[in-house]
Amino acid sequence: MIAFDQVCKRYPSGHEALSELSFELAAGEMAFVTGHSGAGKSTLLKLVALLERPSRGQITVGGQNLNRTQRRGIPGVRRGIGMVFQEHRLLLDRSVFDNVALPLVIAGVARDEIGKRVRAALDKVGLLAREQAQPAVLSTGEQQRIGIARAIVTKPPLLIADEPTGNLDPQLSAEIMALFGQFQQVGTTVLIASHDLALIKRMGKRVLVLDHGKLIDDFRPQASA
């Protein structure tokens, strides 16, 4: 699903966020990217979603070479990826329903179809009752779950999350991670950047460890999910 081949990313400031990074993630696989802050976790996810272009190297996502994707093709690539952010990035002037419906509206799904799918997504994250609420009145954990509902409402083949549990307490974090585990079980490829090592170990999934932009470890902890 994702393949990095000798990827370097140097920002205009001269900072090299990623160097000679190569790895592959199979379709339906779930993996964590970890490392200290500034190790290049966010940059890796940004390259996958075409928020940044690599300075060198090849990136393939879902069989498509991102280096050859023109500017016009970027929205299409992003519509195939569900994205979850640390600071949820919900639109605070719209209801929960409208926030979750936004990717469907963008994808051009007809209105009567949108209602069904939004409710299905909200049901999955356990917040069906809050569809008419404003995001600002929800708790941080609920906001994050709305963000996840928005990411999965189009049923994308790939889900990426940047520190999705960064603002949550351990119990909420475990719940959110379990949710991601469920999406993997229905066939979605999941890639999560996180520095919560204890939680990652408990999940028992593949872990990519970055240090100063280099891949220093790629292992699968022996633990119960």
Binding site: M1, V77, R79, L102, A107, G108, A110, R117, K155, P156
Partner: protein, 331 residues
């Protein structure tokens, strides 16, 4: 477990299944496109209504910028009507020296009639001139005070119609006649008037162009501020895979509404000016025996003003939005 690679990952997996569930729908893409446009059409209107003062101020600036060249153009259009009324005034009025004897006048008239470039010569004796002046000018009472006739004899010389270029030469020759006091060639001042009107029209076009540019910038800048206020929303939409058209659309409709409302306001402004001027202009026209009419903006003209202002608004928004959208994406 589904480990198959999707064939076309640009399309969300569920879209195909949704289409399969409801095969009766003719073209869901077209329908949602229409729905999105309708939504943007009304939601942009709602956004304008949500801050009435800012909107009113923008509209006022726009409508003044549009009304000025329009009023100027109307003024010119009316004077053009005046000009065409004197189109046929090709005659040359030759004022003879006041002390010239009647038979000398007759002789000169005969000599001019014989010329090849002269079609006709009409002789107006001082008596005839006085009579005409008395009946037309309204100075009859004042003329009574005069105990002699101050008017000279006048020859109205009509140049041949098929030789329009010879008229200035004829005028020059007439001026050198010893018996001639003054030559007045109506076509000459008509030419001058045409030249003045042409310059004014050019000036109006330039002014209209500049003010249209101002309108474009006002809309562009207003939309730019609007975009800045909603930059988070735009960023999120771009993250979720919205293409440029989708992000731009609500702002284009905002620009369209600015333009359309400014057009209506402009027409109202022009209407008010027309109404204020209508009474004095009607009096003026009456004093000229209604030889010219004063007209306002025609119905197609109004339609054109509305159309042009809407297009200007749309264009201004397009420029502002496209610039911002291009900044937010990697190349």
């Amino acid at each position: 477990m589904n480990r198959r690679k999707p064939q076309n990952r640009l399309k969300p997996v569920a879209t195909t299944s949704a289409a399969a569930v409801t095969p009766t729908r003719a073209n869901p893409g077209l329908r949602s496109w229409r729905e999105q446009h309708l939504f943007s059409f009304f939601s942009s209107l709602g956004r304008l209504a949500a801050r009435p003062w800012a909107t009113a101020l923008t509209l006022a600036v726009l409508s003044v910028a549009l009304a000025l060249p329009l009023l100027f153009w109307l003024l010119l259009d009316n004077t053009r009507g005046l000009n065409s009324g004197v189109e046929d005034a090709r005659a040359i009025s030759v004022f003879l020296k006041p002390d010239l004897k009647a038979d000398a006048v007759q002789a000169l008239a005969q000599r001019l009639r014989a010329r090849a470039d002269v079609a006709a010569v009409e002789l107006k004796s001082p008596e005839q001139g006085l009579e005409e002046f008395r009946s037309q000018s309204g100075f009859a009472d004042a003329l009574k005070v005069l105990h002699y006739n101050p008017l000279p004899a006048v020859l109205i010389v009509s140049p041949r119609a098929d030789t329009p270029d010879t008229a200035p030469a004829l005028v020059a020759e007439l001026q050198h006649e010893p018996a001639v006091d003054l030559v007045q060639y109506d076509a000459l001042w008509r030419q001058r008037l045409s030249a003045i009107l042409a310059s004014a029209q050019r000036a109006a076009a330039v002014l209209a162009g500049l003010l249209a540019l101002a309108a474009l910038l006002v809309v562009g800048n207003t939309v730019r501020l609007d975009i800045q206020g909603r930059s988070d929303e735009i960023a999120v939409m771009q993250l979720l895979g919205a293409n440029d058209g989708f992000v731009r659309r609500p702002f284009l409709y905002t620009g369209f509404w600015y333009g359309a409302f400014a057009g209506v306001l402009t027409l109202m402004l022009v209407g008010i000016v027309e109404w204020i001027l209508s009474a004095p202009l009607a009096q003026l026209a009456a004093s000229y025996d209604h030889r010219f009419g004063v007209h306002g903006l025609s119905l197609p003209g109004m339609g054109m003003v509305l159309g042009a202002s809407s297009v200007l608004g749309w264009l201004g928004a397009w420029i502002a939005a496209s610039r911002h959208i291009a900044l937010g994406q990697p190349q």
